[in-house]
């Protein structure tokens, strides 16, 4: 048994936000990746990028579809930014092809690619006004002046920047600069907008607002957005699909819900949200369920979609909110273990219970504080029982 409980606060936010806008978003029926006849708008084909002897991106093959809000997620140095920069044309892949809308753009310079990027540092031109910055891309095309003014005004209107039109970037706040950078990236109406850690410089509150603004802009313009972020919460909030990268390799590409509920590896399970990990060996297989002999003598029964063999080393990953916590031993639970409450994290709407189940082993359970007053609240040092059904966990072999 082992517990990963580093980012309690973050996980809470991620799960609460997921419950909010994600399910309500009009994208609930949006799943072009499930349609095999639909051509992708971006296709990476076996992309590898080496810097001297360091492999930044290792044989990445990935399809991204029109109107997707696609997130490349991973810790810093995992190659996600390099992949994005190769799509923008700032880096040349060592191997592989980049195809946009059916056309191989691998050899096109940045200024000929149908993508526009929003930079992490915003990269606003300090000697130009807000208008000048937003209209820069349009001026390169030699568009007539009145048309440029129209398009700039439209972009400024969309991001509520009209009152700052004549200001220089250094006269704007961080949040305003971020909006100018976004307006500049969408002003040319590119087919694909690339966002490289676009909200990294904003404080938490502003970042959440900006995330919803990004989603609104993406939906109203119908543009494909590809965002690079190391913030799992941000990826979960905005993205239609997430590609998790680790050390230059794509580990999993799935919807936020899938990534959360069915993480492919222990690394992803731990990277996105909180998770309890029980290590053990498979002792029996039958009727869609497997039995796992956990390290400290417990036996767990769980569903498994992964093909496993008897005697194989596996992990059972359990999200804290899927574990029930109670004072009494449950009468008919498949999986139940006793323990002692060691710590309680009260977060208002929910509480985290850190339960010691054996010397040195802790399990985190999460419970919504649904009732206004509880007769016998679970408290420190209470003996409790933890239990979960067969379909609560995920069996990980990686």
């Amino acid at each position: 048994m082992g517990v990963v409980t580093a980012r309690d606060q973050q996980a809470t936010n991620a799960s609460s936000q997921r419950a909010g806008p994600r399910t309500a978003a009009p994208q609930s029926g949006f799943a072009p990746w499930k349609n095999p006849s639909l051509p992708p708008i971006v296709r990476f084909e076996g992309i590898t990028k080496r810097f001297d002897d360091f492999v930044a991106v290792n044989d990445v093959t990935l399809d991204i579809y029109e109107k997707e809000f696609f997130a490349l997620l991973g810790p810093s140095g995992c190659g996600k930014s390099t992949l994005l920069r190769m799509l923008a044309g700032f880096e040349r892949p060592t191997q592989g092809k980049t195809i946009v809308a059916g056309q191989d753009i691998s050899d096109l310079p940045p200024y000929q690619r149908p993508v526009n990027m929003m930079f992490q540092s915003y990269a606003l031109f300090p000697h130009m006004t807000v208008e000048g910055n937003i209209g820069f891309g349009l001026r390169q095309e030699g568009m007539p002046k009145n048309l440029i003014a129209e398009r700039v005004d439209e972009a400024m209107g969309m991001l509520e920047l009209r009152q700052f039109a004549k200001r220089k970037p250094n006269q704007l706040s961080g949040g305003q600069q971020q909006r100018v950078a976004l307006a500049r990236a969408i002003a040319k109406k590119p087919r694909i907008v690339l966002l490289d850690e676009p909200l990294g410089a904003l404080d938490k509150k502003l970042r959440q607002q900006a995330q919803f603004e990004l989603m609104r802009i993406q939906e109203t313009t119908g543009t494909t957005f590809i965002i690079v972020t190391h913030d799992q919460e941000e990826a979960m909030t905005v993205a239609s699909r997430i590609a998790v990268m680790e050390k230059g390799v794509l580990v999993q590409v799935a919807t936020p819900g899938d990534i959360y509920e069915n993480p492919k590896t222990r690394y992803i399970a731990g990277f996105i949200g909180d998770v309890n990990i029980f290590e053990g060996t498979v002792s029996a297989i039958g009727d869609g369920c497997i039995e796992i002999n956990a390290k400290d003598g417990y036996q767990f029964k769980t569903r498994s979609s992964e093909p496993v063999a008897v005697g194989q080393q596996v992990c059972l990953a359990l999200r804290p909110e899927k574990i029930r916590i109670a004072h009494e031993q449950p009468a008919s639970a498949v999986n139940a273990i006793p323990g002692k409450v060691e710590d309680i994290g009260y977060l208002g709407s929910i509480s985290h219970y850190h339960v010691r189940t054996a010397p040195g082993e802790r399990v985190t359970a999460l419970r919504a504080n649904a009732a206004h007053t509880v007769e016998r609240p679970i408290s420190w040092e209470d003996g409790v029982w933890l239990d979960w059904p067969v379909d609560a966990g995920v069996v990980l072999t990686g």
């Binding site: 923008a88 310079p109 940045p110 200024y111 990027m117 990269a123 891309g137 250094n170």
Partner: protein, 300 residues
């Protein structure tokens, strides 16, 4: 008590540079200015003071004439010397800018680890005396000098080059001598430019050459401005380079001033020439200071 001591301490700190300027700039300037109002004489020193404390200030003012100044403006020699100096300084400044910009750009784009070495190489000539370096140019430029020999060996020219003692040699000397003063401010402003700005420009459809003119060059303008003034201001009054490398056709006010002072021994007139030169240079100096001020303010 301590606040008062603090205030006093601050006053000393502020006073020090002003005192320095008073002793080594303002007082000498007034001595020169006073000299310029006096009359020339065969004496030691070779002028008659028009102002003496014993006669009082009233007599001085009543006798005050600006004959040296009216003489300078009346004589086309001096006016031409001023104009020619400004022209030579302006052309040299532009040439220096053209040579320095690619060098500074290369330095700013070079790998970080190389930059201190490149900077060192730019400053290195200062370790040798300025005069010796100008004499070295004589050896290079004279008709039987290294440049002629080299080009004749290569078969590019058959006749010795006539560069020495021409205005061309003066341009070469000024560009060579003042190059570091142009490179350093240019490098400083180019090096500050965020490379992501150029990526952003290209991403938005600007070709590299256009991106240079739209982004890099405008953002390096403070450096261009500072560098140009740092070259232009001393070049106007340059004496050594036109004296050693220039010929009889090279008319520069520094040389005129020297002739007036040492050959004609007309101290009052030479002083008047110097005062006018300073006034002419006040305009670019004020511009330079205002630019530095703006730079500091926008840098915050």
């Amino acid at each position: 008590m301590s606040a008062k001591a603090n205030g006093l301490g601050r006053w000393y700190v502020i006073a020090a540079p002003y005192l320095w300027l008073l002793i080594f700039f303002l007082i000498p300037f007034f001595i020169v200015f006073k000299l310029s109002l006096s009359d020339v004489a065969t004496a030691i020193p070779p002028y008659i003071p028009t102002f003496s404390w014993s006669e009082g200030i009233g007599k001085f003012i009543s006798q005050l004439d600006f004959e040296n100044y009216t003489f300078i403006f009346g004589d086309p020699l001096y006016v031409n010397a001023y104009l020619s100096s400004l022209k030579i300084a302006a052309i040299s400044t532009v040439l220096t800018l053209l040579v320095a910009y690619p060098m500074a750009y290369g330095m700013a784009r070079a790998p970080r680890a190389w930059q201190p070495t490149l900077m060192m190489l730019v400053i290195l000539p200062f370790w040798t005396s300025f005069l010796i370096r100008i004499y070295a140019w004589i050896a290079i430029l004279k008709p039987e000098g290294f440049l002629t020999m080299f080009l004749m060996k290569l078969g590019i020219i058959s006749e010795p080059l006539q560069i020495m003692n021409t205005t061309t040699a003066v341009y070469i000397g000024i560009v060579y001598s003042y190059l570091p003063f142009m490179i350093l401010p240019l490098y400083a402003s180019l090096e500050k430019i965020n490379p992501a700005l150029l990526e952003a420009a290209q991403d938005l459809g600007s070709r590299p050459w256009r991106a240079f003119w739209q982004i890099t060059f405008p953002l390096s303008l403070p450096g261009v401005f500072a560098g140009c003034l740092l070259v232009f201001i001393p070049a106007v009054g340059e004496f050594v380079i036109p004296d050693l490398l220039g010929g009889s056709d090279t008319l520069m006010i520094g040389k005129t001033l020297w002739n007036e002072f040492f050959n004609n021994r007309d101290w009052p007139l030479a002083s008047a020439v110097a005062v006018i030169l300073l006034l002419v240079l006040t305009i670019p100096i004020v511009l330079f200071q205002r630019q530095q001020q703006n730079e500091r303010e926008s840098g915050r």
